[in-house]
Symmetry: C2
Amino acid sequence: MDRFRALRRLALDLGVDGVALVPGPNFERLMGARFHSHERPLLIVIAAEGPPAAIVPDLEKGSFDPLGFEGEVFTWRDQDGYSGAFAALARAIPLRRLAVEGQVMRVFVHHALAAAYPGIDILDAEREISALRRVKTPEEIAILEESIRISEAALAETIAEVRPGMTERAVEGLLTQALFRNGAEAHAFGPIVAAGDNSARPHAHARVDYAIQPGDTLLFDFGAHLGGLNADITRTFFVGHAPEAAAEVYETVLAANLEGFRVTRPGATAHDVDDACTRVLEASPFARMIRTKTGHGLGRAVHEAPQIMRGNDEKLESGMVFTIEPGLYDLNAFGIRIEDDVLVTEDGCRSLTTFPKELTVIGQC
Amino acid sequence: MDRFRALRRLALDLGVDGVALVPGPNFERLMGARFHSHERPLLIVIAAEGPPAAIVPDLEKGSFDPLGFEGEVFTWRDQDGYSGAFAALARAIPLRRLAVEGQVMRVFVHHALAAAYPGIDILDAEREISALRRVKTPEEIAILEESIRISEAALAETIAEVRPGMTERAVEGLLTQALFRNGAEAHAFGPIVAAGDNSARPHAHARVDYAIQPGDTLLFDFGAHLGGLNADITRTFFVGHAPEAAAEVYETVLAANLEGFRVTRPGATAHDVDDACTRVLEASPFARMIRTKTGHGLGRAVHEAPQIMRGNDEKLESGMVFTIEPGLYDLNAFGIRIEDDVLVTEDGCRSLTTFPKELTVIGQC
């Protein structure tokens, strides 16, 4: 039972002397624990050959020791700084090329490594390292399903309370309370609750100075975090009534979403899924409203491999989970997105999200 | 009204050609907006001389454009990748030395800059850049006070419900619901709710498999996030009754906390505050239980300048906010920490936290 075996093999494949992990999704999966690293560097280095080693702030030692780490641990205290620990690491594990997680490691750790290892080549292997967690375990899928169940229960409770005249922020407050009431440990990410023109901004912020109007779209993009895993769901509703033009856009997005499911199976590529969805949008009268790719892998990070986009020839495998979230965005008017979390199965796929996605009008008095 | 004036002056002081900011506390303060950057680079470069420029993912354009950015904006789309935008930036703003936020910028952005600017020297100026926000505006202080008020109301509601036999996770759930019920926008950070031996771990995680026992310490370290600013409060209670030895440790920590307030005033240094608190702990019979420095600056980041630690000769100024959070940690037994958020005033200091800190027993039946 060597938890670092796949990383050692990756190091050899990449032609590096080791792989460094910092707290984040890859670290959590392998070590089974989260750390709040803030300004204090904490990392493990898995050498391609030989034992691993770690740098741990003294005040995290009590949390790190029970993890049964297999190598030497160099600790450091606030009053001494961390350069000594990096120097000790450099004596223990010589490295000329090191692979790191470019989307997780911050520049101050990069610079500490560069100072301890003069001339070192620090390779951004985010894609390859994170790819090791593309295929989920049955335990991970079970937790993800529970986080989605929590999210969907919260959404149902929230939309039952929405009325015209509320602000986006007020609705966001209802959603957040419902999430935690239903058992979320945290938000998977800052939730998006956006109405009307604000729903055309893919990463909009809830407004406090706009009252939701009849005829507005109301878009929710959110998810519960539970046991290290993240749900990520989008549903777009109409408040009071659905204007005809926007309803037509809705049906187009829904058709694109369903087309994504039709092509998702082992052996198809990430390209195929984006291409299928995007063709539906391109063939519609609303092609000018396309703004984004179709989706992204989902798990311990909210955005991870595989990216569901044209040009990504990664083959889908049973056990992968990703979002199918086509959208159309009429800037300054409205945006519509329908996002499901999809598991690739042996012979096709299964939607982990089960919230209805037919055009729905809410907040009718 | 040039929002980048202080950054330009800093660039000259540091001898760099520009400063790059990525989404995070410094970016938010200057641009007045948050972005979820995930895997898509977004940054602004403030040249020491001449106009600034930005790199913005196409799908964030709708959120970025209203900010009234003063320079050229290079956008990029998922399907094209971002190297072209970095190359365009390099043509617009030549840079040989660039200052960045080492605690915020991730390695993939560092590498994109290094690829677009061969031979560039990327300096970690986290300390100097973030120092520009050490002195808070009256508006920031007002929001911080509100986030603390929310946090303290949530704490009061939570401890009223704690009973022996509950798990830490159950208590954490009560705290989270109370925070959002009282108006928090988010957690400032993953809250710590830790009893007994778990409270000796400075960054403990709430357990689901331990029932809180009479005589346990119960430590809460948490805060509300509101309007870009973060509360950060710790209180340690006793459940049912206070064992004599632990109570003595509590009084020592409280004395250290109060000593920190006594020395905090403009002109004193960050060193002075840590030294005053730590001397109280060192002079006690519990010196071996010291694990951490006294505190850290608080505002748009939960941990920021000034670090309240020996050796930091930064002078305190009116308008700075930091934590005073001495603690004593008897590993495998219990930990006690008392953390206040403190504003330096013209003639001394004022605690923004007002929750009582005398030894308090909760959960009595």
